[in-house]
Symmetry: C2
Subunit: 224 residues, 2 copies
Amino acid sequence: MPPTLTAFEHSPDRGQGLARDMRVRWALEEAGQPYDVRLLSFEALKQPAHLALHPFGQIPTYEDGGLVLFESGAIVLHVAERHPGVLLPAAADARARAIAWMFCALNTVEPPVFERAMALVLERARPWHAARLAMLEERIHDRLHRLAAHLGDADWLEGAFSAGDLLVVSVLLRLKTSGLLDAFPSLARYLARGEARPAYQRAFAAQRAVFAAGEAARGGAAPG
Amino acid sequence: MPPTLTAFEHSPDRGQGLARDMRVRWALEEAGQPYDVRLLSFEALKQPAHLALHPFGQIPTYEDGGLVLFESGAIVLHVAERHPGVLLPAAADARARAIAWMFCALNTVEPPVFERAMALVLERARPWHAARLAMLEERIHDRLHRLAAHLGDADWLEGAFSAGDLLVVSVLLRLKTSGLLDAFPSLARYLARGEARPAYQRAFAAQRAVFAAGEAARGGAAPG
């Protein structure tokens, strides 16, 4: 039996590939690992059955035999470790560097990027929205500046593509339509290189199909 | 030669153990691994010599032979992997669960907690401060509620103490004087259990000594 992921039945990003199951789908596609998906409504996320799998009532989860995992970063690392040489280099020091970029994506780059996404949804009507958005975008700009300085004119952060690139690219995707990447053409190209990978394309299409099917069902049309 | 960490010469938290070198010191103490520390001024963090080690100009870094790592989560994981059975269980599934809690600490629990710390420093004079703080504390409360539900009356998140607990406790330390843990006595006890570990105590004393020596030097007093 292939592993099973959970994902949103109706992703709030309307199939743009920004939900966190996308990162795991992409890693599984890079590894050539088939997987099943169980779709969940927003209501189901907070029910005991799902909370038993994910303590915070979120997606994705990963079930494989008796193992249940949550946290997309941890699942990507687990997939990488099960498929040596695909998403993490074999040499010990290079492997540790790739893992450092995984944590960097999630604990250094993503927090201000995610805060910006939250502010755009939750604080748009607040009187402080514009001022706070400017503060957040300054923090993001600083992160992007440092990231671009490290990347230089390389294709990937540490030689070959790794799970570190997968997660950094996944975070940058949240900025794709923000205009914040305009000042960093090398990062825009880096993002485009990530999106051009066949494994990314397959993962994107799979999550997109979920959204399209949901739209068709809601509209009463035949599933596409 | 033991590995070398970098830490603040003068920690902004005044030796409360909230800077991110503390997490790595604690992990090294749990592993019984001696280490050296190189202290850096705020100016030195942004100089080319340090940026070559840490792309984002932060602490901590970890140098061991030819390996240079950044990101406290990645360094804790590296230390855990070098000392099997101390910070990660040996069994594959249990190990993956402990790593899931590491990512959870840094990507699910810490972001709103860190945003609150930032808001208290950067937004205190803004007219929106109180309203935004209330929003952030509601997000934190929700995370703590879920965390407490998972912990139940267990000592640690997944059986034995692991690197996952080390990072979750490290994040909860930021809330110690916030009052937000008052509604969750089991989490306050969990935090206290973490702080009571001899390895934590040794790590705390070591970072505290750096701060005390810096204060003594600035005051012109003899180093204590």
